[in-house]
């Protein structure tokens, strides 16, 4: 069944493909060419997220796929993780398997394929980088500046996207 709930304050372009049960929260910006697949289980996206072009979010389980607030999904990434926290960054063309749960403040680098064999939770402040998806922990320094940058990014998008895309 199809049940799509988009908050009135979010900016969603017309050219997106939302299937199944999808809920998009307040202030979230969804660029064109995003695919969200919520047939098997519902997908709930929090507030102030940015989903850039080519993002694919798939829920393979019956349980709800929660995505928290203030996340950034960069171009071409593919996310199947059953739960994602706040303030994360999924890099360009990264791929996250459905066995991995992401907590908050994580960074998955560009092109990284994170596919653990069994269920795993990525702790806070984990950075995944490099072609072999090495991990290390971030100290959290520069966090305030990054939050500020993301806020500015959101404001800019909210202003510019309606000018150039159909909503």
């Amino acid at each position: 069944k199809e049940r799509i709930i988009i908050h009135s304050k979010s900016i969603t372009c017309a050219d997106v493909e939302l299937r199944g049960e999808v809920t998009i929260g307040q202030g979230t910006v969804v660029h064109p060419k995003v695919v969200i697949f919520g047939h098997t289980g519902p997908v709930v996206i929090g507030t102030n997220c940015i989903l850039e072009e080519g993002t694919v979010i798939i829920n393979r389980r019956k349980e709800v796929l929660h995505i928290g607030d203030n996340n950034l999904f960069e171009i071409g990434c593919r996310v199947e993780s059953p739960s994602i926290g706040d303030w994360n960054t999924i890099g360009v063309r990264a791929r996250v398997h459905h066995t991995l749960r992401i907590s908050s403040r994580c960074v998955i680098g560009a092109g990284c394929v994170v596919a653990p064999v069994e269920d795993e939770v990525l702790g806070e402040y984990t950075v995944v980088y490099g072609p072999e998806a090495e991990r290390r922990t971030w100290s959290g320094r520069g966090r305030v500046q990054e939050d500020d940058l993301r806020r500015k990014h959101l404001e800019y998008l909210r202003e510019m996207i309606p000018k150039f895309n159909r909503m």
Binding site: V107, G109, Y129, R136, W138, R141, R143, D148
Partner: protein, 581 residues
């Protein structure tokens, strides 16, 4: 190798060398792609990267693209003197960031100061490493290298290096003074401009008892200096080696680690010349090493082949004499029997596109089967402003001999194996039209067609005379000149693969082409009748050339090209594509 390829053999300064058999993997060192080769006009020879002499024409930092004058390169130890650092964990460039502004007590958002607040530290945007983890912070965001200078100078390896330099300094000065005094009497090879190499040659001669540094003229002055050189006191290092070699600190760390992630990998550690701590958390940021801009010269005539521009930002060259400007650009494609020859000729007009389409299209599969005949198409594109004559000769692939131990007690008999394939190529000379700019073709269209007609009538082979345009249909001849288009000529050849053949189809051809060795005005092209015979001796009058004194010479140049057509599928798997790796 999946797509068919062409490589050129460079004799590398040996005038009598023959190209090694191309199917041996050890001979791949002397075969180069055409874009890797240079051409020396004075010597009329191909030069490759292995035989050119290289000299440094400037140093620059790859990060800030700042050109470092050669004088200060030594002083800065070949590193960038400004704010460029390498992240110790992922080797990316570090950026200078200010620290976070303090958050107010109730968590309200404060306005961020654009200049940033001190203390500043280094931050890697790729792996999020920052220098505050090792305790390096700065008060000002500029000239970080200066601020770190004190730390670097007090490191044990640089102190040791300073001591070594002080120790050798007086002896180097003494030997260079003596050598410079008798400089005018010695041959150039004996004078070392670099004091380091002078010290090295001294050390070499000292180790062998009874042999001193070679001096063609023995003078009393030299005898006096010799005693100085041999009497260098022993060097005592600053720290006792046994102390630095002990690893007790490292062993303690190793006993206490909790996960293997805490140990720095070899790649992260081997840059340091001194043994340092093994832990990841102790890795320090490194200054970025400088890169050099190189200029290349022909080894025999010292003619400059490549000279880059002075600015590191520009990728162009002041002088660029590459083989692509002289040798005809060759490309090869394998139209398989089920493909229309016309479509393949069209595809071969863009030699660059041939590779992509060969790789992607499933119909062009470079695996061939034994016992069949495959035609292939070679295209020659003339880069010069004069038409050239080309003749190709396929060389017999060398008969491989394997020694077989027979049952008899006699010596092993070498067994001759026949080459597994046979090549048919046109052996007559064909011409390729001159290169002209695209805007010239509208006017010269009629002229080019007349050229074709002339050329065709001159042919001695009857098969070529029937071909005055692009070959059409699958039944057209496959060997010989197929098509001429602008400055490209397409030649068809055939390869017959024996039933028992296996391995790669690689064969050597010798390409001989004739060209004129000077620049001719564009106007002159209209005067030529375009038959391009190699013995033309008519000289344009000197007035046309604008008073140039040089006589145009007809030069012949030949080089070897190895053509790789692909693999032959295994015998027992008929009908299915099997690529052995």
């Amino acid at each position: 190798m999946s797509a068919p390829s062409l490589k050129i053999y460079c004799p590398c300064l040996d005038p009598n060398s023959l190209p090694p058999p191309p199917n041996l993997p050890s001979s791949s060192h002397s075969y180069h792609e055409i874009h890797d080769l240079y051409f020396c006009e004075e010597c009329d020879l191909i030069r490759c990267n292995r035989c050119v002499s290289v000299e440094v024409s400037g140093y620059y930092c790859p990060n800030c693209l700042f050109e470092v004058p050669s004088a200060s390169v030594r002083g800065e130890k070949n590193r960038c003197a400004r704010n460029c650092f390498l992240c110790p964990s992922c080797k990316n460039t570090l950026i200078v960031v200010p620290s976070d502004p303090p958050e107010s007590a109730d968590g309200r958002i404060m306005t961020i100061n654009t200049l940033g607040d001190p203390p500043f530290f280094l931050y890697c945007s790729h792996c999020r490493w920052d220098s505050a983890e090792v305790g390096i912070t700065f008060e000002k965001p500029t000239s970080l290298a200066n601020q770190l200078q004190k730390h670097e100078d007090s490191a044990p390896d640089s102190l040791e290096f300073e001591r070594l330099k002080e120790h050798f300094e007086p002896f180097i000065r003494a030997s260079s003074a003596s050598s410079s005094a008798s400089h005018h009497l010695r041959t150039a090879q004996h004078v070392h401009s670099n004091p380091i190499t002078a010290a090295a040659s001294d050390a070499l001669s000292r180790d062998v008892p009874g042999v001193s540094k070679y001096n063609p003229l023995s003078r009393s002055r030299v005898g006096r200096d010799k005693s100085n050189r041999d009497e260098m006191p022993e060097y005592r290092s600053r720290m006792d080696v046994s102390l630095t070699g002990s690893d007790t600190a490292n062993v303690q760390h190793l006993l206490m680690i909790e996960s293997p992630d805490e140990i720095a990998t070899l790649e992260q550690r081997w840059i340091n010349s001194w043994t340092s701590s093994v832990l990841v958390n102790d890795l320090k940021p490194l200054r970025i090493p400088l890169h050099s801009k190189k200029s290349k010269r022909c080894p025999t005539c010292r003619h400059i082949l490549i000279k880059p521009e002075q600015k590191p930002q520009s990728v162009r060259f002041k002088i660029k004499i590459a083989a692509t400007g002289y040798l005809p650009l060759m490309a090869i494609s394998l139209p398989f029997l089920n493909n229309n020859l016309a479509t393949t000729a069209k595809r071969s007009t863009r030699p660059g596109a041939t590779w992509e389409e060969d790789r992607n299209s499933p119909s062009i599969n470079p695996v061939m089967f034994g016992g069949r005949t495959y035609p292939f198409v070679l295209s020659f594109t003339n880069p010069m402003y004069d038409p050239i004559q080309i003749r190709i000769n396929a060389l017999r692939s060398p008969v491989s001999t394997t020694t077989v131990q027979t049952d008899e007690t006699g010596p092993a008999q070498p067994e001759k194996r026949r080459p597994p394939f046979a090549i048919t190529l046109p052996t007559y000379a064909f011409s390729v039209a001159a290169f002209a700019e695209a805007w010239e073709y509208d006017e010269d269209d009629d002229m080019i067609e007349d050229e074709h007609a002339d050329l065709v009538d001159d042919r001695r082979h009857a098969s070529a005379s029937t071909n005055s345009g692009p070959a059409r249909g699958g039944k057209a001849k496959t060997v010989g000149v197929l098509e001429k288009k602008a400055n490209t000529t397409f030649i068809g050849g055939e390869v017959v693969i024996g039933k028992e053949a296996q391995g790669d189809v690689k064969f050597l051809t010798m390409v001989t082409f004739t060209y004129r060795n000077d620049t001719v005005d564009e106007v002159d092209l209209g005067d030529e009748d375009g038959d391009g015979s190699p013995v033309r001796t008519t000289n344009p009058s000197s007035s046309v050339l604008g008073g140039a004194n040089k006589q145009p010479e007809i030069r012949t140049f030949s080089y070897y090209v190895v053509v790789d057509l692909g693999r032959i599928a295994q015998r027992n798997v008929e009908g299915s594509i099997d690529e052995r790796r």
